[in-house]
Structure formats: structure tokens, C-alpha cells
Amino acid sequence: MRDLVKISRDLSSPSLQTDYDPILADLSLHKTNAVRAGDEAEAKRIWCIEHAAEVQQLYHQAYRFLQASQFYDAWRKLEQVELGLNRLRRHDTEHWSSFYLNFIDSKTKAIQGLYPYKIFMSPEFVELQKKCNICERPISIRNPCGHKVGEIYNGEYCFRIVTDFEVVGMAFVESPVQKYSVAFMADPKTGGMVDQYNYSTVKYLYDRWPSPYHDWQVEWTKSLHPKHLFGTLRRNEKCPCDSGKKYKNCCMNLNGIIRPHAVFDFKYPINPSLQRVELSY
């Protein structure tokens, strides 16, 4: 079993080659030993390292999905990265920089911003019964078990497990809590999922991103796009700039269509053959 110093050193220089399974196995053993010794503070410290390793691993998995053009799978991994970082944020300031968590945080948000997903399904349900994952006690509002959601007990993150619920509705929302609930089309014959989204901006990035730790920035502006990119535009149709107005009352008299425009700043040299921008609508 490697000691925590060696593990921390590995997590301070992460790469796609980092093998997380033995790291997580060793951390689990360290944590078990700390719990057995009754050292709550050490168990919590190891939980933080363990969780940081899991976040790195999820981030690498998201990167690999992007490389394989599995965009929705990458999106779900990025959401798990985001959730993992949120859990870690209140407990760990020590490793935030050295384990590249600031970098991962910033890149995760930036990649999520490149996605074309705008509409999500949001389930509405009544949670009838819950229990605590630490002590397994059912939640009672006036007689709480004493374990607070978000705290660490014996090296475990505290949350609630919903054991009985009732769905009361489903809503379409633009800002969901669960980002994985993307609205997809369905194949009318098979009922299977059809991915109708255009990922050209995400593709533009990953074609030019040699590793998950190469740095880049993106700035969003608006610019005029040539009208021929949008096909035949009819006066009374909705304007393709997404203003919600009719085309004749919006961009028809302009020299182009005003659309969001992503400007990438790569902090490393990129292949000149990849500098041409191709965006299809």
C-alpha cells in the first residue's frame, strides 16, 4: 500500500495515463485504518484526497468521451465532475490548487457552456420517506438523527436516500438541477433516442485539444453570420438569431444573422491545418 505522500504526488501531476483504480483502493484502505483508529479528522482528510482522485478520473473519462464524439456521455461525466467538486468545496481547500481542481472546475464550466443543450426535462416529485445514509435511520423532522447533509462522518459523505416517492409532474426547464435530463427526440418507429443536436462548437474544441490539461479560454461574443448558412429564410418565420421575433422584424435588413460567437484562445500552438473554422447550422 502506497503512503499518502506518494498518492498525493501522483494526484499533483495527473495525466490520461494515471491509473486511478490502485490509488482509490489504497486510499480506501488508509481510510478504513483511520476509522478503526477512531481518527475522524484523518478519515475526513483521506475522504478529501479520495474524492479529488475521483473527480480527476471523471474529468479524464469526460475527455475520452469527447475524443470519441460521445457528446452526451461526456456531458453526463462533466455533470458528475461538477457535483464532485461541489461536495469537495466545503471540506478541502488544501488540495484545490495542487490537484488541479481549480483548472478542472474552470474547464468543466467552459465545456458545458459550449454544448447546444437548452431544454431539459425536470421531474417533480414528492419525497414521502427518506433515510440517512450514515445511520440508516428514517428522517424525522422533529427527532433528527444528527447527521447533517454535506458533512463527512467516518470518512463518508452524508446524504439522504429517498425510499418512497410519488411523481407529481414533469416540466420543461432551461436551468435544471440535473443536467443529465437533456430533451432528445425519439425515433417514431423504434422509440430509440435520436440526438438532434449540433455539436460543432464542441468539435471545434476537441479537434484542437491534445490533453485535458492543455489550457485554453473561450470568450462569448455576438457577430454577424452570413445568411446563406441558414438556408432559405422566409419573412414570417422565426428569426434564426433566436430573438423570438419574426425574421422580417429582426435580422432581415441586416447584412447577416446575429448569433453567439465563441472566440477560442489556445494557450499552446495548434496545428495550422486546424485553424480554419467550420460551423454549420
Binding site: 414528492v126 423532522i141 447533517k148 426547464v173
Partner: protein
């Protein structure tokens, strides 16, 4: 942009004390409390009372953080307690009824709770908060509804209650109160 609405409230203290789904024991607890959380009734036509998801933590936070002379309760029996999860980024905080005396400290404690729940600056900037708080001042009851950024909540609510015009007529008795009072043989 923060929005705040003030209205003379129909859901005053007696309204909640006389809700038919409360046991006599809980009625007694509410009657002796200075602050209590109130459920949302009839969501989407459902015959149940629900609290926004996370109310369990909010209730404990209030009990831990409010002064010891502010008795904190919740207008539901333990076995009827349910949470409603809407899964939107609008953070809905459990509605509260409070005496005017404890209103400022309740606002501060609630603001602190929201900051603890939304840890990162990004989360605080990206999230809107909605909170309804009913303030009881003698015979008068006002409901304040805040919807806006978490960081503005405290100032906006405290400003609003101090600027609320004093000549708003006191709300007439709500029909449901009369009905519930009659049913309970309390009138």
C-alpha cells in the same frame, strides 16, 4: 434583479393553527412558537402538504441558530412531513411565519443558511432564491415574497418591512379560518 412583494396576508397565525391536518399536540407547539415553517398546500391539485426539498436542514439550522427564546416549530405532524423536489435551479426556501420581533434575526439566519448551502461564488451568482415569510405584528399580518439573488435577500427584506406603509388595512378574517374554527368548536 431582486423582486419583492408585500401583501396583507390571508394566511395569518390563526389560519395555520386551525389547519385540519394538524394534531392537537402540534397546534399546541405552534401556539407557543415565535417562528414556524408552513407547508405549501394543494400543489398541482394534490391533497397533501409539502415543504420544499431541503426544509429538513433549514429547520435544524433555525433551531440551532436562532436565539434560545425564539421557539421554532413546523406546521405539520412528524409522520405527515414530505418534501417537494422540483429540480430547478430556483432555490425555494421553506415559507415561515414569524413575529415582527424576531423577523430581523430570522432574515439574517436564513441568509446565512443560504450562503452555507450555496458554497461557491459561481453557485451564488447562478442561483435565484425564492422565500415567502409572513410577519405577524399584533393584529396585522404581512406576507413578503422575495425572489432574487441570494446576496440581496437580507437587505431587501429588512428594507421592505421598514418601508411597508402602515396604512394598509388589516386583512379581514379569512373564510377558511372561520370554517376551521367552527369545526374545532373554537368560535
Amino acid at each position: 434583479m431582486a423582486e419583492i412583494q408585500i401583501e396583507e396576508a390571508s394566511g395569518n397565525r390563526e389560519y395555520w393553527l386551525n389547519r385540519p391536518y394538524l394534531s392537537e399536540q402540534v397546534r399546541g407547539l405552534l401556539d407557543r412558537s415565535s417562528v414556524f415553517l408552513v407547508p405549501q398546500e394543494g400543489f398541482r391539485g394534490q391533497d397533501m402538504q409539502v415543504f420544499p426539498v431541503g426544509t429538513e436542514g433549514f429547520f435544524q439550522h433555525l433551531r440551532d441558530s436562532l436565539p434560545s427564546d425564539a421557539s421554532v416549530e413546523i406546521a405539520i405532524d412528524d409522520d405527515q412531513y414530505k418534501e417537494l423536489a422540483l429540480h430547478s435551479t430556483l432555490l425555494i426556501i421553506g415559507g415561515a411565519l414569524v413575529t415582527l420581533y424576531f423577523f430581523p434575526v430570522l432574515v439574517e439566519v436564513t441568509s446565512e443558511y443560504i450562503k452555507q448551502r450555496l458554497l461557491s461564488e459561481d453557485e451564488q451568482n447562478a442561483t435565484l432564491v425564492r422565500w415567502e415569510v409572513t410577519v405577524v405584528d399584533g393584529e396585522r399580518t404581512r406576507k413578503l415574497t422575495y425572489e432574487g439573488p441570494p446576496n440581496d435577500l437580507s437587505k431587501k427584506l429588512l428594507d421592505a418591512i421598514s418601508q411597508s406603509p402602515s396604512d394598509i388595512p388589516i386583512n379581514p378574517t379569512h373564510p377558511l379560518i372561520e370554517e376551521a374554527t367552527d369545526d374545532a368548536g373554537l368560535s
